[in-house]
């Protein structure tokens, strides 16, 4: 027993010891230790890029450690690939769902461990097993539905069942609430509690501190690849966690003055837009944005926000209704014409829409204005002018490294976002659609971008902000619209509402119903 005392990990479900993982140019995990007790919910918190996901990917065998040891239930094991992890009864629900969207729920769940009759896939057996799991953990799904037809919350359930189906005793959930409504989040927490009560161990990656407080037993905080703190949840508070996460006190709210609201600049009337598969995603939506205000659109991802943004910016066909900009009906205008009229756009997916990663920065800085006389003389690009302009922006927005010949792909996420923001602002828009401006950024970059958006507002620019982060919506918006299944559930101001009320609207309740119920 004395010998074991030295390294008795038997009470821990998971121990990761001195884990080192190097990526080209980055030390993603620098001698990280992690101790997770059996049957607890353990949070790993940290900013994006702190190395949380990297650490968990090693536990799940998706990537291999450069050095370090892993113990499961006290015994050291090697995890070289997901199969090893599955054999060790570890399961992982990834931030981006790992679902094959053209296959059915059943097929996704059993993939890799299919019940068979000889060589044939035993669909009926699979269905039965899944129904049993559903019942036991209260996770209801339709076994034969095709994944791409299901809402995100259900897809997440499928992910969890998938893990349970593999007999996982240790569940890793990577930012599971990012795409959920507050109500769905609460449902998820219920499920997690149920799992815990049945003896499962849960590792919960997040950067939302109130969630940590709400559900976990203990917390490991990471920053820049290192562990900066291990605490019991009951012994800590959000402010302390935040300090450990970022290394200094954070301003959780942005300073902003009264809005000086001007004339209406954008009006959307009874808009109908279809998503890629031809189903209606925006269903008769009406809204209006004035100069000098920030209108925030809250909502769970996938409720038509993307389609709304694309319809306003001209990237998607409008089926019915109107988009009126500066008094002109621009419903059928090309993206280019809208830009020329003074519309800016910070897109939700910076790698898909915002940047041409194979272009050098100086080309990225003129995207959308490349044919402006400033950069283009007839058919020919004015290269010296373009480079001078890019040099200025790099300095003004503190893009690092400040080299305009670098390819877009060579920058970090935060700096890529800075390039996009810098570009859009430099074009001097009167109105700007800002979609998920801080997704995946660290707190420093978030602060910078929030301040920039506020200063734009103060200069009289109308801003339409779309974000999945309620905190962001609350701290930036002058008015909040809540979007659910392609419609506006109600309009509120941050001062007169609560996250609960907005959450209910995000789940499909209309404001007037809520208020009448109250009354």
């Amino acid at each position: 027993m004395d010998k074991a005392n030295k390294k008795d990990y038997s009470k821990y479900a998971v121990v990761m010891e001195k884990i080192v993982k190097r990526f080209p140019g980055v030390l993603a995990n620098d001698h990280v230790d992690l101790f997770v007790e059996r049957g607890e919910i353990h949070a790993i918190v940290g900013e994006n890029g702190a190395g949380k996901t990297t650490l968990m990917n090693q536990l799940y065998g998706l990537i291999n450690s450069d050095s370090g040891k892993i113990y499961i239930n006290g015994a050291e094991i090697k995890i070289r690939n997901p199969n090893d992890a599955i054999n060790a009864k570890i399961g992982m629900v990834h931030q981006h769902f790992m679902l094959v969207d053209r296959l059915s729920v059943v097929e996704n769940i059993v993939l890799g461990m299919e019940p068979v009759y000889g060589p044939f896939f035993a669909r009926d057996k699979a269905r039965k097993q899944i129904n049993e799991l559903s019942k036991r953990f209260g996770l209801f799904v339709e076994p034969d539905a095709i994944i791409e037809d299901l809402p995100v919350g259900i897809q997440q359930r499928v992910e969890i069942i998938k893990v349970l189906y593999r007999g996982a005793e240790i569940l890793i959930l990577d930012e599971p609430t990012a795409v959920l409504t507050p109500q769905e989040t609460e449902e998820l927490f219920e499920i997690l509690r149920a799992l815990k009560s049945q003896g499962k161990t849960i590792i919960f990656i997040t950067h939302k501190l109130h969630e940590v407080m709400a559900i976990t037993n203990s917390v490991t905080v990471m920053r820049l690849g290192k562990v900066t703190g291990v605490v019991k949840t009951v012994d800590t508070n959000p402010r302390e966690l935040a300090r450990m996460m970022v290394g200094r006190d954070v301003l959780l709210r942005v300073e902003k003055g009264e809005a000086k609201v001007g004339k209406e600049i954008l009006r959307v009337e009874d808009l109908h837009v279809n998503e890629n598969r031809g189903l209606e995603a925006v269903r008769g939506l009406t809204l209006s944005v004035k100069r000098g205000e920030i209108v925030g659109i809250a909502g769970v991802a996938g409720n038509g926000q993307t389609e709304l943004v694309e319809a306003i910016t001209g990237l998607r066909k409008v089926e019915e209704g109107h988009v009126i900009f500066k008094g002109v009906d621009i419903t059928n205008f090309s993206p280019k014409k809208r830009r020329d009229m003074g519309m800016g756009h910070i897109p939700e997916d910076r790698l898909k829409h915002g940047l041409v990663t194979a272009f050098p920065l100086y080309y990225n800085f003129i995207l959308g204005k490349h044919d402006d006389p400033q950069f283009c003389d007839g058919e020919f690009l004015k290269m010296p002018d373009i480079k001078r302009f890019s040099d200025e922006l790099v300095k003004r927005f503190d893009v690092r490294p400040p080299l305009i010949n670098l390819l877009g792909a060579n920058l970090s996420g935060g700096n890529q976002q800075k390039v996009i923001v810098a570009r859009e602002i430099s074009f001097g828009p009167d109105f700007m659609v800002v979609s998920q401006p801080t997704r995946g950024l660290d707190i420093g970059a978030i602060e910078f971008i929030h301040k920039t958006i506020i200063s734009m507002r103060d200069k009289g620019v109308g801003v339409l902000l779309i974000s999945m982060e309620l905190e962001e919506i609350f701290s930036l918006s002058d008015r909040i619209l809540v979007m659910y299944e392609g419609q506006i559930m109600g309009e509120v101001t941050p001062q007169e509402t609560t996250t609960e009320e907005v959450g209910l609207m995000m789940a499909g309740h209309r404001l007037e119903d809520l208020r009448t119920q109250e009354a």
Partner: protein
């Protein structure tokens, strides 16, 4: 005009038109199936044309040196699989550009067959005659009106082609392996996280494309003729590729599209063979372009209905 209507009716009431359709579809079906296997797992394979050619060549070489056409078939398939393995190696192991690798293999197949033809048979152009795979005689079924004429004396490869369609349908939609193939073609990352070996499944898909495309090629050489001639696949690999797309990447769809092409070609032959039509000689060029124009129209008109596997053509690189 009446002569035309009469001629077209004549074509459709002639059982040989249907038999010819079967014969002309067979190599397309087999090669298109090859395409389905490869692309279901997410690897684009435009090298079908080259694999057919090498399969045709291998068939004749094997039959020539052993005197047994079935060994020829085996050799053809072996060479086809070898060529597919090169493609797999380039596009899976080394994440190469799949279309470019395919284009390279088409050239390689032409070069290798042309070159080896001279080295092995001492003369260019065509090989000596070899034993071909004996046709299947249905005995008294031959006397059944109409159908007897269609089905009598078909190459066993015709039956193999249709059996392969059924087999492939079952494999892809009803077995564990098929489920894994589809998952790997649509979301290799997801499959990987569940312990499915993406590379192995893709290798399987591409190697199977070698099996079927080379069977299609071997049909041309030892199924139909008993001889290899230079470049005898003559664009059928590309048509098979088109058939696979029109058939929405499914074995049965690819089969129907192949039959469509086979029928177009058989129709062309049969129509020209109508004594009552005295066609100007250069009108045959106008007939000749029909299958290609059909493809253009169908490919152009099938948007939305035809959907490639999501990760088709994208190499999977594990960090």
């Amino acid at each position: 005009m009446n002569a035309w209507i009469q001629a077209i009716i004549n074509v459709f009431i002639n059982p040989i038109f249907y038999k010819s359709t079967l014969n002309q579809s067979t190599p397309l079906i087999l090669a298109a199936l090859g395409g389905v296997y490869s692309e279901t797992t997410g690897v684009v394979n435009i090298a079908l044309e080259g694999i057919m050619l090498i399969g045709a060549f291998g068939g004749v070489v094997g039959s020539y040196f052993t005197g047994n056409p079935w060994y020829g078939l085996a050799l053809g398939v072996l060479l086809g699989v070898a060529m597919a393995a090169l493609h797999a190696w380039a596009s899976i192991r080394y994440a190469g550009d799949q279309i470019i690798s395919g284009a390279a293999l088409i050239l390689l197949a032409q070069g290798i067959t042309g070159f080896s033809l001279v080295e092995l048979f001492g003369k260019p152009g065509s090989t000596d005659l070899v034993r071909s795979i004996p046709l299947v005689n249905l005995g008294s079924f031959e006397n059944v009106p109409f159908f007897g004429k269609i089905f009598n004396s078909l190459s066993p490869l015709v039956y193999i082609a249709f059996a392969s369609v059924a087999f492939s349908w079952f494999l892809i939609y009803k077995t564990r392996l098929g489920l894994r193939m589809r998952s790997v073609g649509n979301n290799p990352e997801a499959a990987d996280t569940l312990g499915v070996n993406v590379y192995n499944v893709r290798y399987f898909g591409v190697l199977m494309s070698g099996v079927f495309a080379s069977l299609g090629g071997a049909f041309l050489s030892i199924g139909e003729l008993g001889q290899f001639t230079e470049n005898m696949s003559n664009g059928r690999g590309f048509i098979a590729l088109a058939a696979m797309i029109i058939g929405n990447w499914s074995p049965t769809g690819a089969m129907w599209a192949s039959i469509l092409f086979g029928a177009a070609s058989a129709f062309n032959d049969q129509l020209q063979s109508q004594g009552i039509l005295h066609l100007a000689t250069n009108t045959q060029y106008l007939f000749g372009m029909i299958p290609y124009i059909i493809t253009l129209i169908v490919v152009g008109g099938l948007v939305g209905k035809s959907r490639a596997p999501s990760s088709d053509g994208i190499p999977y690189i594990k960090d």
